[in-house]
């Protein structure tokens, strides 16, 4: 299951509970109104029934007579919606309004009341109240009925209105809730935007206060970032000091190896020089590797134009004994986010190598390509495929006679690996010499 956003889940949950609440409320209110109104109608019908009863008389022959003056006119008009049926031992009196229609009348005993919903004339739906009475020792069953059409129409109208108002309220609540969720989750959105900035190296700390729930997270994050940064700086400094101390001692050793007294013992001098050189290589390689930051820390956006410009100036001075044309171009949109020192180490080693081998031209180009690609080319002799194989596999220089540490490529490979990038060695299309292509991914 994909990770859903917090605001999506909140919105859905709240919307669903609101719909359920409003629907149940609508049903309950409809039910209550129907119930109350029918009760009221039934009691009115019973009153009519009782006033009819008052007008019933039995003569001596047992014939039932009804005082018609007591009967309301609505019972006289045909199909008026108001009907009654009076039954007593084989006799039946039906309201004029019923015309020739029969009403379903249940048989009941005296004192029993039955309420029914029945079909009436003209497709009317009727609420009927049937009551059994005893008068002059005879059982009289009176059924009074009233058309429910008006009531049904009223109820439907009410239900529609209630439904419409509920829907409006629902919409308004959903809208309100959407805004509340958005507003309350704003700190999280800001945090997300800040993390993006952090990743892209546009800032080195999360710049926001946030509500009480988030503030501690932000504070802790900033503390961790600062602590990691400080630790990295301190360890770099310590490594620098260590390198200084070790290499100064190594310098002394290599000076001693050239003292006349030692020169007189060539074997001793040789082994002294070899050991010093081996130590130097180990110190150089391992300390440089340890100083690498890689992509462990949130990077800083490096100003490529400025750093490369400075580096090229430095290389011109370092190779002042040689007339070198070092050209470089940085494409628009090419961005490196990482550690500035790592980048300088990477480009410095590659450019220095190119300068050593070049006859007169070195070219550095920086392109954007789902990350960034640095290409360093020279017009030197380049490498044969076999030599390339060796250099690629072992990472050491092909020609031991060329001055220099020979550790350059090995360190370059360490840097590229620590950023999860790729290194490609080959022949330069443009200048004909050696070419190195370094691809570093976006963060």
């Amino acid at each position: 299951m994909p990770v859903k956003s917090l605001s999506g889940r909140l919105s859905w949950g709240l919307a669903l509970s609101l719909v359920i609440l409003l629907t149940v409320q609508w049903g309950m209110v409809s039910y209550a109104i129907r119930h109350l109104t029918e009760d009221q109608m039934a009691s009115r019908l019973l009153q009519d029934s009782e006033s009819l009863l008052a007008g019933i008389q039995f003569d001596a022959s047992g014939q039932m007579t009804i005082d018609t003056t007591r009967i309301s006119t609505v019972y006289q008009r045909p199909f008026s919606g108001h009907y009654f049926v009076i039954e007593s031992i084989g006799q039946q009196y039906v309201s004029r309004s019923l015309w020739d229609h029969d009403l379903l009348t249940p048989a009941v005993n005296a004192g029993v009341q039955v309420r029914l919903t029945i079909d009436g004339p003209d497709w009317q739906r009727l609420l009927s109240v049937t009551h059994g009475y005893l008068k002059q020792d005879r059982l009289i069953v009176i059924t009074v009925a009233e058309d429910l059409k008006q009531f049904d129409a009223g109820l439907r109208q009410f239900q529609w209105l209630y439904g419409a108002v509920s829907a409006l309220i629902l919409a308004a609540l959903l809208l309100l809730q959407y805004y509340i969720v958005r507003r309350e989750l704003k700190p999280l959105q800001m945090l997300r935007a800040n993390m993006g900035k952090l990743e892209r190296g546009e800032t080195d700390r999360v710049e926001m206060a946030g509500p009480a729930e988030i503030a501690p997270v932000v504070a802790e994050l900033n503390r961790l970032l600062a602590a990691m940064g400080n630790k990295a700086r301190r360890s770099r400094e310590a490594l620098g000091n260590l390198a200084h101390a070790l290499k100064t001692r190594l310098s002394i050793l290599s000076q001693i190896a050239q003292q006349p007294e030692i020169m007189a013992l060539p074997e001793l001098q040789n082994s002294l020089q070899e050991s010093t050189e081996a130590l130097r290589r180990i110190v150089e390689r391992e300390l440089k590797r340890a100083r690498l930051m890689g992509d462990a820390l949130p990077g800083q956006r490096v100003n490529l134009q400025e750093e490369i410009g400075m580096l090229v100036q430095t290389l011109q001075l370092m190779h002042a004994g040689k007339t070198l044309d070092i050209r470089w171009r940085v494409d628009d949109g090419a961005v490196f986010t990482g550690d500035q020192e790592d980048l300088l180490e990477l480009l410095g080693n590659l450019l220095d190598n190119a300068c050593k081998w070049a006859v007169g031209q070195v070219l550095l180009s920086v392109k954007k390509s789902d990350g960034v690609v640095f290409t360093i080319e020279d017009d030197g002799p380049g490498c044969s495929p076999e030599e390339l194989q060796q250099v690629t596999v072992r990472g050491f220089r092909a020609d031991e006679s060329q001055p220099g540490s020979g550790l350059g490529l090995a360190i370059v490979r360490d840097i590229v690996e620590s950023y999860g990038g790729r290194l490609k060695l080959g022949r330069s299309q443009e200048l004909g010499g050696f070419s190195v292509e370094v691809w570093l991914p976006n963060r």
């Binding site: 200084h244 290499k247 100064t248 310098s251 002394i252 020192e341």
Partner: protein, 222 residues
């Protein structure tokens, strides 16, 4: 040529000074940044070898301060840290060259010599005038006929200074300042004796005496 060596390590400093002196340089050694900065401003050094990790004031700061005061003395930075970041910072501060520790003595001497020539506007390669070549490795003279002639330490220093500063009138005191180190006894009468011996070896017309002003080494020939 007179150099200022700034190195705080108690073993490496004196050792390097000896090596450099054997290579024919007058060398003053300074062991801290503040002292080095003052010396570099007062004394007319031809070149400074500057370690970056110094007590009291870092080498980078010392270098930047010199450049701020328009002190253009050539500086070869000597450092053990060796990161490119530091190299760039060193050149940005005004260094002329850079050597990472540990180094081979030959490499240091070659770089010092190259920077000296560059700072005087001379082409790289051996110092030559009138068919006479100065061999810096053996501190001797190679004549037009290819014959080697040895030079004493002082003769070598003098000749190199002349060859690095051709066609200029050089006073006796300037010569003494650049050929002897701070602690030496600078007797200008002794200088005349050395110059006469040098004239005997390379030919008297190469070094002219400008009365009351000093000497002139001509690169064009008479």
């Amino acid at each position: 040529m007179r150099l200022l060596l700034v190195e705080d390590d108690v073993t490496l400093g004196p050792q390097l000074r000896t090596t450099l002196q054997q290579a024919g340089y007058a060398v003053d050694l300074s062991v801290d940044g503040v002292d080095a900065e003052a010396l570099g401003d007062i004394e007319p050094y031809d070149l400074v070898i500057l370690d970056l990790g110094l007590p009291q004031r870092s080498g980078l700061e010392v270098l930047a301060n010199w450049r701020k005061r328009d002190n253009k003395v050539p500086v070869v930075v000597l450092t053990a840290r060796g990161s490119w970041q530091e190299k760039v910072e060193g050149f940005k501060a005004g260094a002329d060259d850079y050597i990472g520790k540990p180094f081979q003595v030959e490499e240091l001497l070659a770089r010092v010599s190259a920077v000296l020539k560059r700072s005087q506007g001379l082409a790289a390669g051996p110092l030559t005038a009138h068919g006479v070549t100065l061999d810096e490795a053996t501190q001797s003279l190679i004549g037009a006929d290819g014959r080697h002639e040895s030079l004493t330490a002082t003769e070598y220093r003098l000749l190199r200074y002349f060859m690095l500063n051709p066609d200029q009138v050089i006073s006796k005191s300037r010569l003494a300042e650049h050929v002897y180190d701070y602690d030496s006894d600078k007797d200008s009468n002794v200088m005349e004796v050395y110059i006469n011996r040098l004239r005997q070896k390379i030919g008297s017309e190469l070094i002219q005496t400008k009365r009351g002003q000093g000497y002139l080494f001509s690169s064009k020939g008479s």
